[in-house]
C-alpha cells in the first residue's frame, strides 16, 4: 500500500506520527498502547546506552564508538516486523537494531570495548558482526537472501547503511544483484544527512536516495525516519513483500545524526547549531512521548521509572562486559582458520616465548 502510493520521484514521504505527537489515524499501524509504550521504553534504553557509551569513551573505558542518538525510531521500529530466522546485516551505527534483533547489550558493549568476542553472536541470533568498510555489507545480505531462496526456508535479509554508503560501488552492485535475482532483501538506508562531515546534498545529485531503487527494478520509498509508525508500517510492508516473493525494496529513512560521527569527531566544525536545534524539535522520542501523553499513556512517574530501569540495565550490561577478562594473545592466532596453519603455530609460539621471557603470564585461550 505504501510502496504503491508514495512516489519517491515526487519526494513523497511517509509521515504518520508528527513531531507534535498527533497521528494520521488512517495510516496508523496496528500497534496497541502497550506496544507503543514498549517501543518508547526501548528507544529510551538506546538513548541512555548511547550517552553512556560516549561518556565511557571519554573515560578511556570504551574504544571509538559510533553514536546513534537521534536515530532511535529507525533502530527500534524497523527490526520489529522481522522474524528470528531473518538475517540482519548492519554498518556500524546500528547498535540499537542489533540489540533489537537479539544481540545482548553485554556483547555489544564488549565489542565497543575492543574484544572480538563481542561479535560472537549467540547461536540462533542472525545478526552479522557490524561492518566498518562503508557499503561493503549489503552484498552479504544479498548472498544471505539468495541462500534463503535456494533453501526455501522462508528467511529474508535486511541490510542497513547510511546516505554516504550509497555512493560506494558495492551498494550499487548489491542492489543490482538483488533486483536481477528478485531476492527477499530489504535495503534500509538511514539517511542521517551526514557522512562524517559531508552533507547529503553533496553526496549524490539525486533528489532522493529512495528513487535509486527504480534504476534496479524494484520500489523505493521515502519515510520520516524519526516517526516510529512510518518506519514500522513501511518496514512491515517491505517484509511481507519480500516474504511473498515480491522481491527487494529500498527504504530511505530520513533522519538526523544528533551526535558526532564517532566519539573522536567534532561536528561543530561542519554544521551549525540552528540545524541541530531544528532537528531537536523533530526528536523521535519526544514525539512518542507526546503521543503517549495525548492518549493518556504517559506519566512522569512512569517515565522516571523506565529511565531508572533502563539505566540500571545499561549499566549492568556494561559492567558485565567490563568484567570480562582481557583475551590472551593466543586468540589472535586461533580464529584465523578452522585449523591453525604451521605458519600461525610458529608465530604464536614465538610471541608466547618472547612474552614468557619477559615474565609476562598469559592465560589459556578460550575454548569456543
Amino acid at each position: 500500500m505504501f510502496f504503491e502510493r508514495y512516489d519517491p520521484l515526487k519526494q513523497e514521504m511517509v509521515c504518520i506520527l508528527a513531531p507534535d505527537g498527533s497521528c494520521h489515524e488512517a495510516l496508523r499501524p496496528a500497534l496497541d498502547d502497550q506496544q507503543v509504550r514498549q517501543i518508547y521504553r526501548q528507544m529510551w534504553l538506546l538513548r541512555i546506552y548511547d550517552r553512556k557509551a560516549v561518556s565511557l569513551q571519554r573515560q578511556g573505558r570504551f574504544g571509538t564508538y559510533a553514536q546513534m542518538e537521534g536515530q532511535e525510531a529507525c533502530m527500534v521500529a524497523s527490526p520489529l516486523p522481522l522474524q528470528p530466522q531473518d538475517w540482519m546485516v548492519t554498518s556500524y551505527r546500528e547498535t540499537g537494531a542489533m540489540w533489537m534483533h537479539g544481540v545482548p547489550l553485554k556483547l555489544l558493549s564488549l565489542y565497543w570495548m575492543g574484544n572480538e568476542f563481542g561479535s560472537q553472536m549467540p547461536e540462533g541470533v542472525r545478526v552479522l558482526p557490524l561492518a566498518i568498510p562503508v557499503g561493503t555489507q549489503p552484498l552479504h545480505a544479498v548472498g544471505l537472501a539468495y541462500a534463503g531462496t535456494y533453501r526455501q526456508d522462508g528467511s529474508i535479509a535486511v541490510t542497513y547503511f547510511g546516505d554516504g554508503a550509497t555512493s560506494e560501488g558495492d551498494v550499487h552492485e548489491a542492489m543490482n544483484m538483488a533486483g536481477v535475482y528478485q531476492l527477499p532483501c530489504i535495503f534500509f538506508c538511514q539517511n542521517n544527512q551526514y557522512a562524517i562531515s559531508v552533507p547529503r546534498r553533496t553526496q549524490t545529485a539525486a533528489p532522493t536516495i529512495a528513487q535509486k531503487a527504480l534504476a534496479y527494478g524494484f520500489p523505493g520509498i521515502l519515510v520520516d525516519g524519526n516517526d516510529i509508525f512510518a518506519v514500522y508500517a513501511v518496514m512491515r510492508e517491505a517484509v511481507e513483500r519480500a516474504r511473498c516473493g515480491q522481491g527487494p525494496s529500498l527504504i530511505e529513512a530520513y533522519t538526523y545524526r544528533m551526535g558526532a560521527h564517532t566519539t573522536a569527531d567534532d561536528p561543530t566544525k561542519y554544521r551549525d547549531n540552528a540545524e541541530l536545534e531544528e532537528w531537536r524539535g523533530r526528536d523521535p522520542l519526544l514525539r512518542v512521548q507526546r503521543y503517549l501523553q495525548q492518549h493518556g499513556q504517559w506519566s512522569e512517574a512512569w517515565e522516571h521509572q523506565i529511565l531508572e530501569e533502563c539505566t540500571a540495565e545499561v549499566e549492568q550490561a556494561m559492567a558485565e562486559a567490563a568484567a570480562v577478562p582481557p583475551p590472551p594473545p593466543q586468540d589472535m592466532f586461533r580464529y584465523m582458520f578452522a585449523t591453525m596453519t604451521p605458519q600461525l603455530m610458529e608465530q604464536e609460539a614465538a610471541l608466547l616465548a618472547s612474552l614468557h621471557a619477559k615474565g609476562e603470564s598469559h592465560g589459556t585461550a578460550h575454548a569456543r
Binding site: R58, G63, T64, I196, A260, H261, T262, T263, A264, D265, D266, T268, G359
Partner: protein
C-alpha cells in the same frame, strides 16, 4: 610546541631558589640565552637564561616566590619566523579548549600524543658524511664455513682462501685447523674485530686488546644495572672460627668421596637459611607491575672468574642439596665455566648471587647487582684478627661480607636483618646444622 622550562639545578647541590626579579614579561619574544630571571639560592644570585628562542607564554612563579629545582619556571612558546628579539608581539592566546578530548585528531582510535622531538635529519643539516670507521679486513665465506671455523677455533683472517673470488672454502678451514693443531678441547676464540699488534698513539707505544664477546656482554650488563638499579652496599664481619674448624674436620670425610670441600658450600647453605627468613632478598623487582616477585626456590649464582671474564653459573635448589652435593656441583660448574662449556641454562634462573672474590683476595667490596636479582653477597678473604670474644681479646677467624642490595626493592634495615641472620648462622655451626 610550548616548552615548560623547569628551574635547573644551577649547581652545588642547590634544591631551591627564590625569584628575585623577572627580566621579561608574558608576551615578550626572547632569543636563546637571553636572561629571563634572577633567582637567589643560598650560594648566590644567579641569572637563568632562555634555553631557546620563543615567546614568553607564562611566568610560572612570582617575584618573591620560592621555587624548587625541577618545577616549571616559565613557559616559552614557539618563536615566530619574523621579528627580532625584544619586539612586542600580540598575546599568544593558548589554544581554545574544545569540548572534545584533545587527543581526537582522527575519526577512530586515539593518536599517541607523547610528543617526541626527533634529532634533526642529517639531510637537513647537511652534515659531512660519517667518518668511516677503522678498516676491517673482509673475510669471504659462506655461513656454514664460518660456523665450521668457529667450531674448530680457526681464525678466518689467518686462512688462505682457495675458492673463487677470494672465498674461503670448507677445505681451507679444515686445512688451517690441522696445521695449527688446534686441540679439540681448546676454548674457541672470537675473531678479533681489529688486528692485534703493537701500535703507536700520539704519546707512545700502545697495544690493542680486542674485547671478547663475553667482555662486551658483561659491559652491557653493567651499564644496564647501573642505569636501572639503585645499589647500596652494607658490610659486616662474620666470626667463622668454629665453621672453619668444622670444615677442616669434614675435609677428610669429603676426600673419601673424592670431593674437595671449601667454605663456599657452607656459606651457600647459611645464605639459604637466612633467605628463608628474609624472602625479600630472594626476589626480583617487577617494575612493570609494581611488584616484587619473591622466589620460592633457591638457585644461587656463583660468580666465577675465567680467563675471559666473570661468568655466573647457577647452582639450583641449594636448599635441597647436601653439602657434599653442593661441593661436587660447584666443582663441576667451575670447570665448565673455565673451559667456556657452560650451557645457557646453566647461567639462568639465579635468585641470589654470591661473589667469592676473597678466593683471590680483598676484604670489603661493592659487588654489582646481578640483575634482575635484588641482592648479591660479596665474600672477602678469611682474616685472622684480634677481636673481643667472651669479654677477652682473642684471635678469631673473620669473614668479611659485603651485601649489595637494590634500594628500589628493599631498605637497609631489611638487608641488615638478613645479614644479621647470616652472621649468626655462620658464627654458630649448630644453627647451620639445624637449618640444613
Amino acid at each position: 610546541m610550548a616548552l615548560e622550562f623547569r628551574f635547573p639545578d644551577v649547581g652545588e647541590g642547590i634544591h631551591e631558589g627564590e625569584i628575585v626579579r623577572w627580566l621579561v614579561k608574558e608576551g615578550d619574544r626572547v632569543r636563546p640565552d637571553q636572561p629571563l630571571v634572577e633567582v637567589e639560592t643560598d650560594k648566590a644570585v644567579v641569572e637563568i637564561p632562555a634555553p631557546r628562542a620563543g615567546t614568553i607564554l607564562r611566568l610560572a612563579a612570582a617575584e618573591g616566590q620560592k621555587i624548587q629545582v625541577g618545577e616549571v619556571l616559565v613557559v616559552i612558546g614557539e618563536a615566530d619566523v619574523i621579528g627580532a628579539a625584544g619586539e612586542r608581539t600580540p598575546d599568544v592566546a593558548p589554544p581554545q579548549p574544545q569540548s572534545m578530548p584533545p587527543d581526537s585528531a582522527s575519526v577512530v582510535g586515539a593518536l599517541d600524543l607523547a610528543l617526541t622531538e626527533l634529532p634533526p635529519s642529517p639531510e637537513a643539516t647537511r652534515d659531512a658524511g660519517a667518518v668511516s670507521s677503522a678498516q676491517t679486513r673482509r673475510v669471504l665465506a659462506i655461513p656454514s664455513v664460518r660456523k665450521l671455523a668457529r667450531d674448530l677455533g680457526v681464525d678466518l683472517t689467518q686462512v688462505t682462501p682457495t675458492g673463487p673470488h677470494g672465498r674461503i672454502r670448507r677445505e681451507d678451514v679444515l686445512q688451517a685447523a690441522q696445521q695449527h693443531q688446534v686441540p679439540a678441547t681448546q676454548v674457541p676464540k672470537e675473531a678479533p674485530t681489529t688486528a692485534p699488534g703493537v701500535e703507536q698513539d700520539p704519546y707512545g707505544p700502545v697495544e690493542y686488546q680486542p674485547l671478547s664477546a663475553l667482555r662486551r656482554t658483561i659491559a652491557k650488563a653493567m651499564v644496564t644495572a647501573a642505569a636501572t638499579a639503585v645499589p647500596v652496599t652494607t658490610t659486616d664481619e662474620a666470626d667463622v672460627t668454629d665453621l672453619v674448624a668444622l670444615r677442616q674436620r669434614s675435609r677428610e670425610v669429603a676426600a673419601a668421596h673424592n670431593v674437595h670441600v671449601t667454605l663456599l658450600p657452607f656459606i651457600m647453605k647459611a645464605v639459604v637459611a637466612a633467605l628463608r627468613q628474609h624472602p625479600t632478598l630472594n626476589a626480583c623487582l617487577d617494575e612493570a607491575h609494581d611488584r616484587l616477585m619473591l622466589k620460592r626456590y633457591y638457585h644461587l649464582g656463583i660468580a666465577t672468574d675465567t680467563s675471559e671474564g666473570l661468568i655466573v653459573p647457577v647452582v639450583r635448589n641449594v636448599d635441597q642439596k647436601n653439602l657434599l652435593t653442593l661441593a661436587t656441583e660447584l666443582a663441576r660448574l667451575t670447570e665448565l665455566a673455565r673451559t667456556r662449556r657452560l650451557a645457557l641454562t646453566d647461567l639462568r634462573g639465579a635468585t641470589f648471587t654470591i661473589s667469592n672474590y676473597g678466593a683471590i683476595g680483598g676484604i670489603f667490596a661493592t659487588p654489582m647487582l646481578h640483575l634482575p636479582e635484588v641482592a648479591i653477597l660479596g665474600v672477602g678473604k678469611l682474616l685472622q684478627k684480634p677481636v673481643v670474644h667472651g669479654g677477652e681479646v682473642a684471635i678469631r677467624t673473620i669473614l668479611p661480607l659485603s651485601l649489595t642490595f637494590d634500594h628500589r626493592a628493599l631498605d637497609g634495615a631489611a638487608a641488615q636483618r638478613f645479614l644479621n641472620e647470616l652472621l649468626m648462622t655462620l658464627a654458630e655451626p649448630a644453627r647451620l646444622v639445624l637449618a640444613l
